[in-house]
Amino acid sequence: MIDLSVDFGKFYLENPILTASGTYGYCDEFDAFLDVRNIGAIVTKGITLEERPGNEGKRLFETSSGLINRIGLENIGIEAFVNRKLARLRKLGINFILNIAGKTEEDYVQLAEISQREEIPAIEVNVSCPNVKAGCLEFGTDEKCLYDLVSRIREKYKGFLIIKLTPNVTNIEDLALAVQNAGADCISAINTVKGLGVELNFSGTKVVKSLVQGGLSGKCIKPVALSMVKRIKEVANLPVIGLGGISNLNDMLEFFTVGAEAIQIGTENFTNPSIAVNLAKELAEFIVKQGFRDLKHLKEELRK
């Protein structure tokens, strides 16, 4: 057995392939396609304090090599997650990370407290949500605001704390440092890129238009993600989990090259539902074929 493990100290992965939040639900649908226990870890759908119905209207827009979504964080709420989903994840031995989101700092603090109470081993914080008390600017776009938020979560939660950064900023470096200084354990990058889909239909001179403003994901954002991961690693010492448009072995190796310790598969799960497990196999085969000792050795050579 080739050693593909990633040890973050507080959190351990058998292999470096995770599934991104929002693309794997609560991990109760993909059993049909693969053994989910073979995934490094699954990141749950973003959970808020209260149940949310999500956005009205059109939620999806396919682009060239990508997908715009505006789901609006439809989710069952933290209590329902704890009562209905948590036991199953634990019983099946699925390694998971809880993704949390909120509208106010207080929301996040309460979610952190519940995560601590329930002994959830790792949480990923979505900071791309509008901060209602700060004129709906996203938490993750202002370094002071982000520092305060992460500090308050850190006070309440002692497990492995990952902050998922948004790419919709000018200086990702400042935000990465804010997260590091506030005491987080890890950064995941990137969340979706803001995008707009425009669909036009004509009936003579009558125009029927549909505008879908949301988060762009998929293959087309990979260069943005790689650049962000590289820039974060240049200033921060925290480990980084890279994501954004990864769909094959080579994509994964590119992220390792710029400093990612692990990666997440997002949109590609929809196209290819067994990719997470297949990639782990391919990675092991590649390591053997090329003659590397293990994943650590491969990463060292990639970063030389």
Binding site: G22, G25, A32, G54, L60, F61, E62, L67
Partner: protein
């Protein structure tokens, strides 16, 4: 149990204007009417969902299918065939149109739920022969039984109709139905609009097999676009205009429909007015196809509460009375 599968294209043909029928091999032993498959389109982010228009499980077919075992190892297990219909619309359907016999298809199936099938007990007129339908049963090249209805032939024979004298461009369905001696009792009325006929055709086949009397009326924009297999066809006008007459004549217990939103909405209205149950198969852009991404949700009103339902996993078939229209 849904699976990630590979199949071989067994047949692909144009069946009407911009309309293609695609048949491919499958290891599945059954698939229910209303269920769909989600086909991978190379270089596109999203798979494309297609309602099942037919499914055959037949050993005779299996023999022909063996020619393709060298192309796809898994094909040895593929004893069945799934048929889907699609209208050429965008990149996905235009890619599929270019497939040829022997090409590989990557798909997820079976996805989604199915229609409620009424039981056929306590109905003295429930069998196809008793209901007076004239049917011709044939066996096609693949060894699959097909049922071609005489009245479909009648419909297709109404070419050259003077559209000006018939403002809606519609065929007088009722008259045609009576002319061929359809009995005035049908358990199920099926309403297909455009390519929405696909799941109705498969549902009809299952109802026929279960000897549940039924009548399928379909509407198409033009004569060139007509897809065969209905008991009655409306061309140019609205299929909905015929539905009340058909309800009055056949006294169905249930309406089934698939088609554009506007048609489904009208089917639900008519069902409500007549105090009938309507089950409609809905369509929405999907990402995952299995209920996790929440991209294709609609709103349902159930037990006085409004809640989200995903078209892909909670549907695509919904009780018309529960759907809240956007």
């Amino acid at each position: 149990m849904k699976k990630h599968l590979k199949g071989i294209v067994l047949n692909i043909e144009n069946i009407a204007k911009d309309t293609v029928r695609l048949e491919f091999s499958t290891p599945l032993e059954s698939i229910l009417p209303g269920q769909f498959v989600s086909i991978l389109i190379p270089h596109k982010t999203l798979r494309r969902p297609f309602s099942v228009a037919d499914f055959c499980l037949n050993s005779a077919f299996g023999t022909n299918n063996r020619n393709f075992d060298s192309i796809l190892e898994e094909n040895a297990k593929n004893k069945g065939a799934i048929t889907v219909l699609f209208k050429l619309k965008g990149d996905g359907t235009n890619y599929l149109k270019g497939l040829q016999k022997g090409d590989m298809i990557d798909y997820l199936a079976p996805l989604g739920n199915t229609f409620t099938i009424p039981d056929n007990k306590n109905n003295p007129k429930n069998t196809a022969s008793a209901s007076g339908d004239i049917t011709i049963k044939t066996t096609d090249a693949r060894g699959c039984e097909t049922v071609d209805r005489i009245n479909q032939t009648v419909m297709n024979g109404t070419k050259g109709m003077d559209k000006d004298s018939e403002p809606s461009g519609a065929i007088e369905t009722k008259a045609v139905a009576c002319a061929i001696g359809v009995n005035s009792s049908k358990k199920a009325l099926l309403i297909g609009a455009g390519i929405g006929i696909a799941p109705m055709l498969y549902l009809k086949k299952i109802l026929d097999k279960k000897s549940i009397s039924n009548y399928l009326i379909s509407g198409f924009k033009t004569e060139e676009e007509v897809i065969k297999g209905s008991d009655g066809v409306v061309i140019g006008g609205s299929v909905i205009d015929k539905v009340q007459n058909l309800i009055d004549e056949f006294r169905p217990e249930i309406l089934y429909s698939c088609g554009p939103k506007v048609v489904l909405q009208m089917v639900c209205d008519i069902a409500k007015k007549n105090e009938l149950r309507a089950e409609i198969a809905m369509e929405k852009v999907m990402a995952c196809g299995i209920g996790v991404c929440r991209g294709c949700v609609i709103k349902l009103e159930k037990d006085d509460a409004i809640k989200n339902a995903s078209v892909c996993a909670d549907g695509p078939v919904f009780s018309g009375a529960e759907v809240i229209w956007e």
